[in-house]
């Protein structure tokens, strides 16, 4: 193919000006775009409001598609379950028999626990869960790891709130629009979570690797204390995440860094729970007033959120 002729307007003065003007507009626009990015360096969520329109419009589409494919993502598990179904069934039956006794014991302990707490006049109401919603889409083509949540500021979701599933931690809310919220996933390279080893409280910091893995650095200097198989839970330091939410399991240790895999896979979990930031739960100013005036304790919680 020969060179396309249209870029050379020839002697037509009007065409020349029009071409020149188009480049001026393009350059000026590129400069403005750079300016937007410079602003985003200092305030990463500053222009999130621009996304409100598209996020709200595409929400019903994503939600509808999510509903149709939610069965598909776990189809491999369903198929795998048929493999050796008979022997597995016998094994599971035995397991259930064994677990039943343990559950009865645990119920007894829970009752005794409640009774003892009553004796001590400890009131321990867990009001951390705000709502449960679905993750409907994600930033699949970007280097950042965001997922879009099907609930937003009208439902009480605020930036900074932790998001978890039954299996473990998912991430925290980054920005909100009226009906959707962007969740910064645990595996994002900027998501730093204070963790500890579940069995002996070795403190560490978990950073996302961007590729579905986590990098775990021990806070204590010296030899890397982690080994493959270690279970990590949140430590509660920092005031965002509640303590004891399962986070990851260590799979590989290399020098100072241990690599972990998140316990909760956002692609497979059905619904996630948005929780209030830990600090808001433990430092509520006046629990009596908040409980009577606002059953959800929302007013007290939101006042502290920027």
């Amino acid at each position: 193919m020969a060179r396309p002729p249209s870029r050379r307007p020839g002697h037509n003065r009007k065409a020349q000006y029009s071409l020149f003007a188009s480049y001026v507009v393009a350059m000026a626009g590129a400069a403005i775009a750079l300016l937007l990015i410079v602003v985003a360096i200092f305030d990463p969520t500053g222009f999130a409001a621009i996304r409100t329109g598209t996020a709200e419009i595409t929400r019903p589409l994503s939600t509808g598609m999510k509903r149709t494919v939610s069965g598909v993502s776990s189809i491999d598990e369903v198929l795998a379950a048929y493999w050796r179904a008979g022997s597995q069934n016998v094994g599971l039956r035995r397991q259930v028999e064994a677990d039943r006794n343990r559950i009865i014991e645990a119920k007894g302990i829970a009752q005794e626990n409640a009774r003892l707490k009553k004796l001590l006049k400890l009131v321990d109401v867990d009001s951390s869960a705000l709502l449960s919603a679905r993750l409907i889409s994600s930033s699949a083509s970007s280097a950042r790891r965001f997922a879009r949540l099907n609930a937003g500021s009208w439902q009480g979701v605020r930036p900074g709130m932790p998001v978890r599933a039954a299996e473990g931690l998912i991430g925290r809310v980054h920005t909100t629009t009226p009906n959707t919220a962007e969740v910064l996933l645990l595996t994002d390279t900027s998501n730093i979570v204070p963790v500890r080893r579940a069995n002996d409280n070795v403190p560490a910091i978990s950073t996302g690797g961007g590729d579905g893995s986590l990098e775990i650095r021990a806070l204590a200097a010296g030899r890397n204390p982690f080994k493959p198989g270690d279970l990590l839970v949140t430590s509660g330091i920092g005031g965002i995440f509640q303590p004891n939410i399962p986070v990851a399991v260590v799979v590989r240790v290399q020098g100072e860094i241990a690599y972990g895999v998140p316990l909760a896979n956002p692609t497979k979990v059905d619904a996630v729970v948005v929780e209030r930031a830990f600090e808001q739960i433990v430092t509520r100013p006046d629990p009596g007033v908040a409980a009577t005036s606002d059953p959800n304790g929302l007013a007290a919680g939101n006042a502290a959120t920027p």
């Binding site: 393009a26 360096i41 970007s142 900027s190």
Partner: protein, 175 residues
Amino acid sequence: MIDRNLPPVPRLGRHPSRWRLAGTPVVTVMLGSMLTILPVIAQSPAMPPFGLLVLLAWRLLRPELWRAWVGLPLGLFDDMMSGQPIGSAMFLWTVMLIGIDAIEHRLVWRSYRQDWLIATMAIIFCLAGGVFFARITGGGPVKLLLVAPQMLWTILLFPFVVRQCARIDRWRVMA
């Protein structure tokens, strides 16, 4: 020679509407950007940037279609759909289109292979630039290696997308 698979040619004296001529490429690029609304929760940057691919395909198929500033509105829309900071695709796409204009001035003969080469450079530029912008706007230590697989299959996907754009283009110009 008559190809039976070709759709019927427009009747003599009839032209496709202006909206169809100008709007189809814009809509296809926006649809490409909108593929991020698929209900997939990705754990790594796996999905190729289809908005960029479609834009490149149209730009190289039909050089006379757009001026370079078209990267601004389309890039803004892509930024709104992807998780990149606002301004990232706006800047990268516009600079990329200006760059393609400059290269086109220097290339006298251009065929399919040169187009693919231009697209390869443009894709590497845009994805690497996207990583850089994600990094400086609070994204933490994002490694360039993280998007290397995405780069690879975006480049490999380009011929397919060009084919589909050419097919849409045939529909576009035939009323």
